[in-house]
Subunit: 327 residues, 2 copies
Amino acid sequence: MKKLAIGVDVGGTNTVAGIVDAEGNVLVKGSISTPKHGDAAKYIKELADSIKDMIKNVKSLNPDSEILGIGTGAPNANYYKGTIEHATNLSFKGIIPFIDLLRAQFPELKYLALTNDANAATLGEMIYGGAKGMSNFVMYTLGTGVGSGIVINGDLVYGADGFAGECGHITLIPNGRYCGCDGRGHLEVYCSAPGMKRTAFELMSKYNATDSLLADKSFNELDSKMIYDAAVAGDKVALEVFELTGHYLGMGLADTVHILSPEAIFLFGGPTAAGDYIFKPTIASMESHLMPVFKNKIKVLPSKLKLGDAAIVGASALVWKEVEKQQ
Amino acid sequence: MKKLAIGVDVGGTNTVAGIVDAEGNVLVKGSISTPKHGDAAKYIKELADSIKDMIKNVKSLNPDSEILGIGTGAPNANYYKGTIEHATNLSFKGIIPFIDLLRAQFPELKYLALTNDANAATLGEMIYGGAKGMSNFVMYTLGTGVGSGIVINGDLVYGADGFAGECGHITLIPNGRYCGCDGRGHLEVYCSAPGMKRTAFELMSKYNATDSLLADKSFNELDSKMIYDAAVAGDKVALEVFELTGHYLGMGLADTVHILSPEAIFLFGGPTAAGDYIFKPTIASMESHLMPVFKNKIKVLPSKLKLGDAAIVGASALVWKEVEKQQ
């Protein structure tokens, strides 16, 4: 009997789902639009139909397979309650009883669980990726925002109300840049992809850098991939963007280390594809901010999850973790 | 059979020990000098003799009592290894196998454990104090430094190497005041008792406050109790010291909340005796720095441990926690 888990990732535009084996291979996957109509029950029915098709598909190829459950990563997900709460980038208003709605569609599946996408990625790293065998680590996901997941004693930290792991919103610079959450100077406003763009425009303003490769892009055009390409081409502004992004991120990682004493910190997401451009200054800054007792022993590693499948694979990891918990 | 636990607190000057019942009452206590001779084995022998006297004393009063074990709070303690490592304010050099030395003296006791003093206080709060029944909380201990202990899912967080909980060393102000750990701008340099003194001198310099009640004290004379007395008397500088200390502490608490999502944060130590002077600005600052999802639900509470016995009582809590773990 080949055991399989389903992973679902609810995004603002699309919801992707896939069936994943115990080694993290995606056997089949699909996608539906995350609707704008705000009717959660209708949406879950549509999602369930799509998943049922996938199950049929996989079962025809692997007649001896067993589906254990469905793990879902979603914004503003509350693990304890199985709800999506006041997600500003989804059309569903208020509190959506996601797991209850899903259970009505799959009464035969024992393991249904929901958490936010950064936590799902963190579990993915632990179950299938570079954190296999680690009991204490942290994962930062760098993208449109900065999310994080924390593992202590082998378990994901949800905190008192299920919302732990908002490391993207620790304050780095008092009265610094404005954050989407209404705060200021948070890690996210410096180390997310849009944060890197803001740094680029700050630096062009500082140096009046008319000759920068980035100087012909509008604020709405410029993205972190363009900054990376410019850095590779030797553009001074772009190179300094990576230096500063690493400087800020390292400060935040050092805070995380002082609080949690992890074995390793994993970095995941688009900007981490820049490799040494981002890892070198990040590690240098973290080390310079660490107390002596923590110096030269915290590993800062790239995630081993494949960027394309990470959302599905991470979400499916929730299922294996639930199986482990209930055994 | 009345079950009892022994608590030991290793300080720079004195080592205090006491026998504590399950309700946190100290039945008997004593103290020896923490020696300057650097001979750990000799010191542990002396400590053991003192503890043996106490046990004899308690057993004569309560013939049906049973001593379960010894919990110790000490600087630079490594819970996993039972060692005290490179403690700069103790005379013992290098790594002291504290638990091994103690076990040789008490082979009949099953539960021997060691952790740092902030962690011991945190366990004390959970076993005997205001955190009874809480599974996710944080404790900040304000004194000469700022320590902290973190409880997640009912367990103290030690991290990968036993040194988690250094919340006093998260960075609040980039390139801020110098910290004893070689870092800069850490929470400890603003929110410890000496940090409050530094703030007082900064403010007197800023305002040329020759009429402040604090203006006749030298840098080495002024302490946080004097600042409190001056604040009660309406001294403007002293009042602003509390405002600023609360402002800084609230920033740090908000970071802690974003990362860990605790149910409550407890404040312990000398400066917290100032009550509203410190709690009000701390809570206001924390709330102003929190993301919406965390606002108005994190309790900030004074520790319920009695200041005088807290070190012994906290250390003894380690024993009950070990008993619970091994059952």
